[in-house]
């Protein structure tokens, strides 16, 4: 048995529940009050992954035409999640949808056009999901950071507007730092990749029996792909968020202006 492909049965999964029991016992002993959360998380993960497993079995077995639908559902779910985190930005849902759609189609598009990956569901769906999950975090991070910074530096923003700067110019310092906040985690991960932990895609390949050389080549593509996906997401989210936090007349929107008299 050189790899784990086909080796894990539901029996093994049931045995692995003892690891969940460890977490529950720790929580109980330390009075962390997380037992319910742990049980809910365990059940949810089981149900969700089982469902995803069925869908993937179906799409991967000769129903590749459903691939765009699978990607679309992932983008929609990620949109709802990131919009919920960034809900203090007006029209957050639209901004998230645009950022995630651009990140996904832009990055997958480049991978496919340059023939870096084959246009098959087995490649497009997992890589797409990685792009979307990362872009989701970046999107909400850029949006909340930008909103909070502009609200917190309202005096400076309005001093800039008062001098005749446009909304884009007045927001530029905080727009820049929000983009950095959104993109730095993936850049840092790319820098230390392999040194701290073996990344997911590479781990998966190794567990499935691929050679380390194959595994690292995929991992490199994944890292570069995530850089691009996050850049697309940060760009679109930042740009659209600035547009929603100012009026067409270069005023901060009212919810960002504490009422002063």
């Amino acid at each position: 048995m050189s790899d784990l492909s086909g080796q894990i049965t539901f029996g093994h999964v049931a045995l692995a529940l003892c690891l969940v029991v460890v977490a529950v016992v720790v929580s109980k002993a330390q009075k962390a009050d997380l037992e319910t959360d742990i049980v809910v998380a365990t059940v949810r993960s089981f149900v969700q992954l089982l469902a995803v497993g069925f869908v993937l079995e179906f799409v991967l077995s000769d129903h590749g035409a459903f691939t765009p639908a699978v990607i679309a559902v992932m983008v929609a779910t990620a949109t709802v999640t990131s919009a919920n985190r960034a809900r203090r930005v007006p029209r957050a849902r639209w901004i998230c949808a645009a950022a995630l759609a651009v990140a996904t189609t832009g990055t997958l598009g480049l991978l496919l056009v340059l023939r870096i990956i084959p246009a098959v569901p087995r490649a497009v769906i997992p890589l797409g999901s990685m792009i979307i999950a990362n872009a989701m975090n970046t999107t909400s991070l850029v949006m909340t950071r930008l909103r909070d910074d502009l609200a917190g530096h309202r005096g400076e923003v309005e001093a800039r507007l008062s001098l005749g700067q446009t909304a884009t110019e007045a927001a530029a310092p905080w727009h820049r730092s929000a983009l950095r906040t959104g993109m730095l985690p993936v850049i840092d991960n790319t820098k230390v990749v392999g040194l701290v932990a073996l990344p997911g895609a590479m781990t998966g390949m190794l567990l499935a029996g691929a050679s380390p050389a194959d595994a690292i080549r995929l991992q490199l593509v994944v890292m570069y792909m995530l850089l691009a996906g996050n850049a697309f997401a940060a760009l679109v989210a930042g740009h659209l968020t600035v547009g929603r936090l100012f009026t067409a007349d270069h005023q901060l929107i009212r919810s960002l202006r504490r009422t002063l008299t």
Partner: protein, 207 residues
Amino acid sequence: MGDRFELREVGVDGDDGPIVSGFSARIPADGLTAVVGPSGSGKTTLLRLLNRLDDPDAGQILLDGRDVRDYDVLELRRRVQHVGQVPVTFPGTVADNVGEGWEQLLPRVHLGPGLAEREADRLSVGEAQRMCLARALSRRPDCLLLDEPTSALDAASKGEVERLVRSLADDGLTVVMVTHELRQATEMADRIIEVRPPIRPGPQAPR
């Protein structure tokens, strides 16, 4: 000279009721007009309407006889410069902050040429406030809006800024200054507009 600003039945709504309601006033183009009133009377809000950092929910504001909304907002703000209570410095030197013409403008606000290359965030509050005035003047405005320009300053720099503001008004700029100090208003201003919560125009006292 005619009115620089005319406010007609202006109202601004806050989260908990009106901040300003039914306020009318005329601000002549010449001299210094002080807007006085206790905190919570809507003075700052009124000032922000004049360069369109905010818009009223009711009524109309005219600049030189034309609705402020009919101007290009960026051009309006260039003409009507707003300087806030707490001086805001941007990254860079004093000269960077003031921009073009700093050689002439620094002496005008009584800042020595030696300060030009100093990082703006290392100025004292009084110096920073004068730098903000120089920066506003660099836009060649017709009108200055000052929101409690001396409230963050110590007594010495306060007197200096007061004299400076007065001299700018004497040089022909329309100056509108919000203050909570009646003494400052009566000493400096050519006319006083009093506001009270809930806002109503008060009597206009001569200087």
